[in-house]
Symmetry: C2
Subunit: 391 residues, 2 copies
């Protein structure tokens, strides 16, 4: 407890945008997020009052950080499981625990466990050798998707293998892999739930996530044209996974939809890009919900605040052009109702540096407004008429 306020102190390992936005949510709850950042320039370190510098893989730093925290949680999945166990053995309340987080850290462990639970998945195979890939491809046909079991994100650690030669080249790198069939995607979906130590689970509406080059660029909430029964089934799946895996905090279940079947792609156990729309678009943001969950507070209302919510990521654009401050001016003039979130990051091409959220009643109009706003921030120019309109 913070003696000054009588309210709990949550420590978050990692100082990126998720910690930054969690700090915003913590302020409303009377708290001040404690952040373990690797650099004073990290997005969260720029805005939080209680920042410690140190690495997430340094157990001594983690132990110092945890002192005085009521709960420790994460803005990424990179804290080694043995460190999480060591802290838990010290008596630190640390969520999600190592036994749950492994399923977000290790794709092989996740596929095996989801198999045991009978969760719908693409066909997949553990890779020990090149033969495993070619034998798998004999069953599914080329190309196949290879994934590093650890450390992948935003399209990194994922390879489309078109033939045995490509497979051989990848296996030769020594990367630990699994291989999956290439799903004939109609679209990608995601569903988020929050679970508390008590066991309460709250589910958000299912959303559609639009990817480009392996990076999420747009989230549509709720997922358009999704059968309500199927939406409920997907929420139930996510609730079951959170419960069976013992997740505490936010769980994002990323899903493939091939038009016939929806299968689980990946899991994330933290606030997630697919839930940034909740800041304005849901009665309780995923950041507040994550805090409520790890603190074992009752969960907040996950209802939508508008019929349609669209989140568009802002990636770093090409160098040059008008300043970011001028881009904000122009965007605000064009779209007074769109909300922006800038993460305080150095802008590098392709890096997620912020997002925008638009609310409305028409999907096409709301999507176009979000696209125009993201375009201003990314490129410093107006999106030509009609280009923001989805085909």
């Amino acid at each position: 407890m913070d003696n000054r306020t009588g309210l709990p102190v949550v420590g978050m390992v990692g100082g990126g945008q998720l910690a930054r936005m969690t700090h915003q949510a913590a302020i409303a709850l009377g708290q001040s997020l404690r952040v373990l950042a690797t650099s004073a320039d990290d997005g969260a370190a720029l805005v939080a009052a209680d920042v410690q510098l140190g690495s997430h893989d340094d157990l001594a730093a983690l132990r110092t950080f945890a002192k005085g925290c009521d709960v420790v949680t994460f803005d990424h999945e990179h804290v080694p499981g043995e460190h999480i166990r060591a802290l838990a053995d010290d008596g630190v309340a640390i969520y999600p625990g190592a036994d749950a987080l492994i399923f977000a850290q290790d794709k092989l462990a996740m596929r095996r466990r989801l198999g045991e639970l009978g969760a719908p998945m693409p066909r997949w195979r553990e890779v020990q050798s090149l033969d495993d890939i070619t034998a798998f491809a004999d069953e599914t046909g080329w190309p196949v998707i290879a994934k590093a079991t650890r450390g992948g994100y935003d399209g990194k650690g994922v390879w489309v293998l078109r033939d045995p030669a490509a497979a051989q080249e990848l296996v030769a790198t020594g990367t630990a892999l699994i291989v999956e069939e290439r799903v004939a995607l109609r679209r990608e979906l995601a569903v988020q739930v929050a679970r508390s130590p008590f066991g309460q689970v709250a589910a958000y509406p299912v959303v559609e996530t639009v990817q480009r080059d392996g990076i999420c660029v747009e989230v549509l909430a709720p997922a358009p044209d999704l059968d309500p029964d199927q939406a409920a089934q997907l929420q139930e799946l996510a609730i079951r996974l959170a419960t069976e895996l013992g997740v505490v905090g936010m769980l994002a279940v990323e899903l493939f939809d091939d038009g016939k079947q929806v299968t689980v792609n990946e899991l994330a156990m933290r606030p997630h890009n697919s839930g940034h729309w909740t800041i304005e678009g849901a009665r309780t943001s995923q950041f507040e919900q994550h805090l409520r969950a790890v603190l074992d507070y009752p969960m907040g209302d996950t209802g939508l605040t508008a019929p349609v919510v669209v989140m568009a990521n802002v990636l770093g654009g090409p160098e040059g052009g008008i300043s970011i401050d001028e881009r904000v001016h122009h965007l605000f003039a064009q779209e007074p109702g769109v909300k922006i979130h800038l993460y305080g990051k150095q802008i590098r091409p392709g890096r997620k540096v912020g997002h925008v959220t638009a609310l409305g009643s028409s999907l096409a109009d709301t999507r176009a407004r979000a696209a125009r706003a993201a375009h201003w921030l990314q490129f410093g120019t107006a999106l030509p008429e009609n280009e923001g309109d989805p085909a």
Copy 2:
């Protein structure tokens, strides 16, 4: 500009809850509010990364603070006008300027200026001596309302004078005063606008403010049963005042409604308690809007996010009872859709320590939910059934 982000640095003089909530809004805009706090335990100092300790009436401290700020603004009205002028003379962009802020600092100056502008006001008189009060009361009848021209807030600096003896006692204190007729109040209203240096003005919906013992306890947005034409006239009045007075930033116009006429009670030139509902209840919160205004960004959408929004203040309750953390638990269990905002303040009876916001479609239901939530936080007990229901 902050070299790390390319975005502006706004400095706010004063570290209370207004600065605390402005920092939350600044984070989304890619900024980190710089705060001049009097104590490291101030609500904003607990959560902001960039805090300087110093007094708002120390010009040297203000000058140090202003260095590197793109704009300086205020969380209260207590910075002396001569210091604001000195900073402006130094070349600091400081908003609102001294020539505008005087009308929020000095009730005599405000009444005179509003008289020149023909704004509707209660009858009032400058007080030089006891005779001024008694002569005024001969016209209006007793009781009359005496107000300190400077430094009043939350019912402090306001006296109901029932007879010449009470007037004599007050005049003997040497407090600079004005006297006003006691308005036969049907209710109080407020309207907020934001104005930028460019001159753009954005108006929020007119709200009803419910006072108890001179302290605002509840805000209903939009004001129930207000004629749309009258609402538009009040917004136009606030826009005209912001423009004529040269306000930059948020302006709150507090209003008396006697059922026949609406008159101006007070002005505040900063984010204001009557606008806390905008955090969840309007597309752009008053805190973001204040930042946009002082930075000369285009204004954001002021539209409502729900048909009915109710904000209830949380005052410090009696000592004892369950802890504030337990109160949050119980409130969240009972009202999963109500949003809370705790200011990190030491709890003292009657002090504003937080607020709650409920959104809905029925006024009675939304009001009752807000009342129940505020009661949990203030008293640590459930509000008995029906008591939250306005008569």
